[in-house]
């Protein structure tokens, strides 16, 4: 394990964060496109609801991004300490998700949500170290 944190480690952390954020945004976008899951299950049953999710292209790309993020994490862990990579990527993902929710998903991210994202990001960083 390396004890100096070089640019390549931060690049790997950035890759994890970007792919995790892309995955979350695509999954959220897919579920918004599909509609209320409880309503679909009430009308089409559990099988119909699962089929609606699995047929959605955004969902499939979201899962792909999540998988790439996971393998990037595994790759980064072979290069750098887990005490840096895990908390840094988890904390930064909360912040980038808040930006993505506002600018890509057009969610109403008010001061309350910004404050929560920063608090939770910092909290996860401290907790995972």
């Amino acid at each position: 394990m390396s004890h100096t944190v070089g640019p390549s480690v931060w690049l790997m952390i950035a890759a994890i964060v970007v792919m995790a954020t892309a995955g979350d945004v695509l999954l959220a976008s897919a579920m918004r496109q599909i509609g209320d899951f409880d309503d679909i299950r009430a009308h089409a049953g559990l099988g119909g609801a699962v089929a609606a999710v699995l047929k959605n292209v955004r969902f499939l790309f979201g899962v792909l991004c999540m998988a790439v993020s996971f393998f990037s994490l595994l790759f980064a862990l072979s290069w750098a300490d887990v005490s840096l990579v895990a908390p840094a990527s988890a904390a930064l993902t909360f912040i980038t998700n808040a930006f993505a929710a506002k600018w890509i998903l057009k969610e109403n991210v008010d001061r309350r949500r910004w404050f929560a994202a920063v608090c939770v990001g910092a909290g996860v960083f401290f907790l995972a170290r």
Binding site: G35, N97, A98, N108, R113, V118, V120, G123
Partner: protein, 154 residues
């Protein structure tokens, strides 16, 4: 934004936070029981499926993913992620009081920050109603257009 949270929906959020944390913990316990896996013998990972805690962990993570998708169908991503991060706190508290592990002051600070963040976000609305935003934008645009027409006619 509107608040559409019911008791059942709060239970889905609880399932998200507990499913991820407990699922990871079960997988960790199971893989420790199995021992290190060589990169040249990745097929031996299939043997992990015989370990009960690994199976329980996988089931919990499937439950987490289903609950996460359900939550995203009626709540914003910027609401679900902070609200469900409380699972990290649950794991830290379990480690302290059940497994009697040492929790450092930095971790207590992390628990406090997450609790404050979750408390803040869950007090607010859970879903952005885009149709309402669009109609509000239209209502705001129509008077502006009307005043422009008025100015031009004058």
């Amino acid at each position: 934004m509107q608040s559409t949270m019911t008791f059942r929906r709060y239970m889905v959020l609880v399932a998200v936070m507990l499913g991820a944390s407990l699922g990871d913990t079960c997988l960790g316990i199971g893989m420790k029981h199995m021992g290190p896996v060589s990169i040249h013998h990745l097929s031996s990972l299939l043997l992990a499926l015989r370990i009960p805690s690994v199976l329980i962990g996988i089931l919990l993570l499937i439950g987490f993913f289903a609950s996460y998708l359900t939550a995203l169908s009626w709540a914003d991503l910027s609401f679900v992620l902070p609200a469900t991060s409380f699972g990290n706190v649950v794991v830290a508290l379990l480690a302290k009081f059940w497994l009697h592990e040492h929790v450092s002051p930095a971790r207590w600070a992390g628990i406090l920050l997450i609790t404050i963040g979750v408390g803040f976000v869950t007090q607010g609305p859970s879903y952005t109603n885009h149709s309402q935003i669009d109609s509000t934008d239209e209502e705001a645009t129509v008077p502006a257009m009307a005043s422009n027409v008025k100015e031009q006619s004058v």
